[in-house]
């Protein structure tokens, strides 16, 4: 190209090509930047969450007798007082009542250790005094104290005793809340989409509704919380912090998303199908329910799952309606006060005990895992049932 005999040669060409290269590099690096952030983020959270996989247990004698029923501290040897978890000790009287054959026996078993011992073993800062640390080291050497898989994280609810805290109640709460959300948002959303796509005429009312829906998609979530507080708790008098109120509030948020994606799905069904239906004498409703809807269904499902995934991660509106409370029990009905996983993460992130940092990070990993699962399902469904017209 350097040749002067080439009639198309332009002196500035080299610069322009260089500019192109730089531009391409710029766009490429911005992409890499976002991906790098994603990687950095996941690695950082993963590192923080990793210690939560294991929890410290200690192998000791536990004596079940009259004395230990009244005061659990009597059930174990004095020297283990600082080592064993308080949460384990307080269960002992209940344990004896449920298993009376244990009375007057001494059993050797692995029991949960205190969070300070756990933090020390994991190499973080610990409040253990030096003599306690030496004792712990001895126990480790004689294999009487070690890290084991952390079952309590998955089998327990929230707790003020760090070693005992888990995500079970928040997961159940999340499931209940999301069921309520979909129960309300899905039918109403799809019905509204059907009306707007199939039935509405292009008049002022329709335009207002359309503008409304497009707006609602982008309104800050915290305003939905204020609405939920005003309507569901103050006017309707529903119980605060319940899965019902949380689900309804999230339903308000998810509704516009479902409407928008369902409309897109309905729109993608070609008119020829509808006209064919009319041609054989079907009513409009029959055409829609029998033909258009089933064909649009995969798209509607995908949109709903994505809406669900968004609702799953919301915290701000739930703070306003009171789901940030200390609720260790799992809910048994939709009217029970409960918490959800993102709210649990928020609460744990603010706890002063350092043992909670790893639990927060681990809960984040669980939440992200659920979201990846949901999104992958949505994408899979879209690919599988996508019909190309």
């Amino acid at each position: 190209m350097k040749n002067n005999t080439n009639p198309f040669y332009d002196v500035s060409l080299r610069n322009r090509h260089a500019k192109t290269k730089r531009f391409k590099l710029f766009t490429y690096s911005s992409l890499i930047f976002s991906l790098a952030f994603l990687l950095f983020f996941i690695v950082d959270i993963g590192i923080k969450a990793f210690p939560a996989l294991k929890q410290t247990y200690v192998y000791i004698d536990v004596t079940y007798n009259e004395k230990s029923m009244r005061s659990s501290r009597a059930a174990i040897d004095r020297k283990y007082k600082k080592i064993v978890s308080r949460a384990y000790l307080r269960e002992i009287p209940k344990h004896i009542k449920q298993n009376p054959y244990l009375l007057n026996t001494t059993v050797k078993k692995w029991v949960l250790a205190d969070d300070q011992v756990d933090q020390y073993l994991k190499g973080h800062y610990s409040k253990l005094k030096s003599k306690d640390k030496i004792f712990v080291d001895e126990l480790v050497k004689s294999n009487l104290l070690k890290l084991q898989f952390n079952r309590t994280f998955f089998t327990n609810g929230d707790s003020k005793v760090p070693e005992f805290a888990g995500i079970l109640s928040s997961i159940i709460g999340t499931i209940l809340t999301l069921i309520i959300t979909m129960l309300f948002a899905f039918p109403i959303g799809v019905m509204a989409a059907i009306y707007l796509e199939e039935f509405s005429k292009d008049n002022l009312l329709t335009q207002i509704v359309e503008i409304n829906i497009n707006n609602l998609v982008a309104i800050p979530s915290i305003l939905f919380g204020l609405l939920g507080l005003a309507i569901f708790i103050n006017s309707f008098g529903l119980p605060r912090s319940s899965a019902l109120v949380g689900g309804l509030t999230l339903a308000l948020m998810t509704l516009p998303i479902i409407i928008v994606s369902s409309r897109a799905a309905l729109r993608s069904v070609p008119n020829s199908i509808r006209e064919a239906g009319f041609a054989v004498g079907l009513t409009k409703v029959q055409v829609i329910t029998g033909h258009v809807l089933p064909l649009a269904f995969p798209g509607i499902m995908t949109g709903s799952i994505i809406g669900l995934a968004q609702a799953l991660g919301e915290t701000a509106p739930l703070i306003i309606i009171g789901m940030i409370a200390f609720i260790p029990d799992s809910p048994t009905s939709v009217l029970d006060a409960t918490t959800v996983l993102p709210a649990q993460i928020f609460t744990w992130a603010g706890m002063p005990e350092r043992a909670y940092i790893e639990k927060t990070a681990a809960a984040i990993i669980v939440l992200l895992g659920i979201l990846v699962l949901l999104n992958s399902t949505a994408i899979y469904l879209r690919k599988r049932y996508e019909v190309k017209w």
Partner: protein
């Protein structure tokens, strides 16, 4: 047809779950300072008895009283945690909404510490010096008028203090700890200084807004991080938080007194306050776990000298006082306006 069956089943389960909800759960709302204590007792109750765990929410003292005083309805909270006395206007609001049968339960003390990184030397301040570090306006050099707070270094307030930049992380305006701090440090002192009164303020509690006092969340991991990274800075928070982090932070002496369990419970330490909860007596019959929660809270194991709560920083009541409180609760002594006015 199949879809319809599925829908019916789902609806049925939901309807059933609505019916099952007959149990009334104990709801406790209120102060964020008392929240860790309440939560611990609630968890103990749930774990050691067959009662469902009470629900504890940290709404702040004022917000908690608002929910508590709304009505006597079973939907409203039965107990409210308050890190100060109930105010006269709050009591009146309760009365006018029909919430008339309430008992005040004192549970302990709290001191507000003024702390810094442990790597610094011990700091000794008077309440007055603290006031001048924090107030938005201070007396001018001739003492006759008020000027905008010019002090940027501690030695400008008093030459006996070191030459150190003033940086204070304190509770935000929405916090009960802030209310208590303003009350005990600012209001009580400026009441005695005529120059504030003569400048037209009946009560003065304005904190400076020039960036030297930085509002932060209290009981925050971040505050400790800030204090250890920025050794010049101080933090204002409750005693329980000081105890949680005594490996990294150390409290300053105020008027020569260290905040310890003893000095706070005898009110020797100048910035101490009492912690309470208020109960709706009418809810006792309706919520079976309520009485057990209260008696568990007041028991020696939980609230006594070497107890679970003192382990996490509660400053306990002396035994006789605790017994008195227990008796008050057993007899359900009704709170009257006179009690509130007197305690002021």
């Amino acid at each position: 047809m199949n879809n319809r069956n599925i829908i019916l089943v789902v609806l049925l389960t939901l309807i059933l779950s609505f019916n099952l909800q007959a149990k009334n759960q104990l709801r406790v709302v209120g102060s964020s300072t008392i929240f860790p204590f309440s939560s611990l007792v609630a968890e103990e109750l749930g774990a050691t008895t067959t009662f469902p765990t009470p629900i504890i929410e940290s709404t702040g003292s004022g917000g908690g009283i608002k929910l508590f005083c709304k009505s006597n309805n079973i939907n409203t909270p039965s107990i409210v945690n308050v890190s100060r006395h109930m105010l006269i206007k709050e009591f009146k609001q309760c009365q006018s909404n029909g919430v008339t049968d309430i008992t005040e339960v004192m549970i302990g003390f709290d001191g507000i510490a003024f702390a810094q990184s442990k790597e610094n030397k011990v700091f000794d301040l008077t309440k007055k010096q603290l006031l001048f570090a924090v107030a938005a306006e201070v007396p001018s050099s001739d003492g006759k008028s008020l000027i905008k707070n010019p002090y940027k270094f501690w030695n400008e307030i008093d030459s006996s203090l070191p030459k150190r930049e003033i940086i204070i992380y304190g509770p935000p305006t929405s916090s009960g700890t802030r209310d208590a701090f303003e009350d005990m440090v600012m209001l009580s002192l400026t009441d005695k200084l005529d120059v504030y009164k003569s400048s037209g303020y009946k009560k003065y509690n304005r904190v400076r807004q020039d960036g030297i006092y930085i509002p932060s969340g209290e009981n925050d991991n971040l505050i400790v991080q800030k204090l250890t990274k920025n050794r010049k800075a101080f933090g204002i928070f409750g005693y329980s938080f000081l105890v949680e982090n005594e490996d990294r932070i150390i409290a300053a002496k105020i008027d020569g007194i260290d905040p310890t369990i003893e000095t706070i419970s005898d009110r020797e330490y100048p910035i101490s306050r009492s912690l309470f909860f208020y109960i709706k007596n009418s809810h006792s019959k309706l919520i079976p776990s309520m009485d057990k929660y209260i008696s568990l809270f007041l028991s020696e194991d939980i609230m006594g000298e070497d107890s679970v709560l003192t382990d996490i920083g509660l400053i306990h009541l002396p035994d006789e006082l605790r017994n008195m409180v227990q008796n008050c609760v057993i007899e359900r002594v009704k709170l009257t306006l006179k009690d509130i006015v007197r305690e002021k």
